[in-house]
Amino acid sequence: MTFAKDLSTGNAAEDRILEKLQAAFPLAYRMLGMHPDFDIWIPELAKSVEVKLDLMSQKTGNIVVEYYHNKASALTVSKADYWVFDTGEELLWFSREGILDCILSEGMEPVRIAGPSDRFAKWAFLIPLRILQRYSVSERAAQP
C-alpha cells in the first residue's frame, strides 16, 4: 500500500468515526491536514479523539500502538483524550491512560516494524487485541 493510499484509507476511517460522533455531538469536526495532536475535536465535550485504523489486526490479532517513526509519533506526541482503534470489525475506545496502563501493567516491550510503504522503521507496541480490550473505556469504567 502506498503512502497516498494509506492516507486516503486513514482519512476515510476518520470520516466514519466523525459521522458516528456527530450523531450525538453535531459540532464535532475533523482536523484537516497533518495534525499530530489529535484527529477529531468534540466542542460539546471539549475532548479530542485520535483515530487509528488497524485492519491487519484481524489477521494478526495484534493492535499496533506506534510511538516512534523517525521521530516521536502517535502515543508520544498525541494530545488526544481518547483513542479509537478501527479494526474493520469493531471500534475500540481507550483513554490515553488506558493504553499506557495496558503497556505498563502487561509488561509490553517495544518492537521495530518496517512496513512495505515505510521509509523508516516504526517503533511500536504490538498488543494482543484480547488483552488491549481489557483496558478499553468501557472495561475500565466497569472496574471497582
Binding site: Y67, Y68, A72, T76, L100, S105, E109, R112, W123
Partner: protein, 90 residues
C-alpha cells in the same frame, strides 16, 4: 542497533531513575542516531523504576527531575501517569 540491544540499554538507562542520569547514560552508551529513539522509549521503562523508590518524596523528586520541555513533549506527563497507574495496580 538490534532491538534486543536497544531494550537492554533502555533497561540500564531506566535504572538510573533520575532523568539527568538517564539522559547521561543514553548519550554515553548509544550512538547519536539512537538518542531520540531511546528518549522516546525510556519513558515506558521509568515508571516501574521510580515506583521502586521507597518514599513518596524520592518518587516525587524522580518525576520532578524530568524537565517540562524534555523530548518527547509529553515525557514527564507520561512517566507521572505511569507511576500513578502502577501504584494503583499494586
Amino acid at each position: 542497533m538490534k532491538p534486543a540491544q536497544l531494550k537492554a540499554e533502555l533497561k540500564f538507562a531506566a535504572k538510573k531513575i533520575y532523568y539527568p542520569r538517564v539522559v547521561e547514560y543514553i548519550r554515553a552508551n548509544l550512538e547519536p542516531e539512537f538518542h531520540d529513539l531511546a528518549l522516546a522509549s525510556v519513558i515506558f521503562y521509568l515508571p516501574d523504576q521510580i515506583l521502586s523508590l521507597p518514599t513518596k518524596e524520592e518518587r516525587r523528586q524522580a518525576i520532578d527531575s524530568i524537565p517540562r520541555d524534555a523530548y518527547p513533549a509529553h515525557s514527564r506527563d507520561m512517566v507521572e501517569a505511569g507511576v500513578k497507574i502502577l501504584w494503583k495496580r499494586r
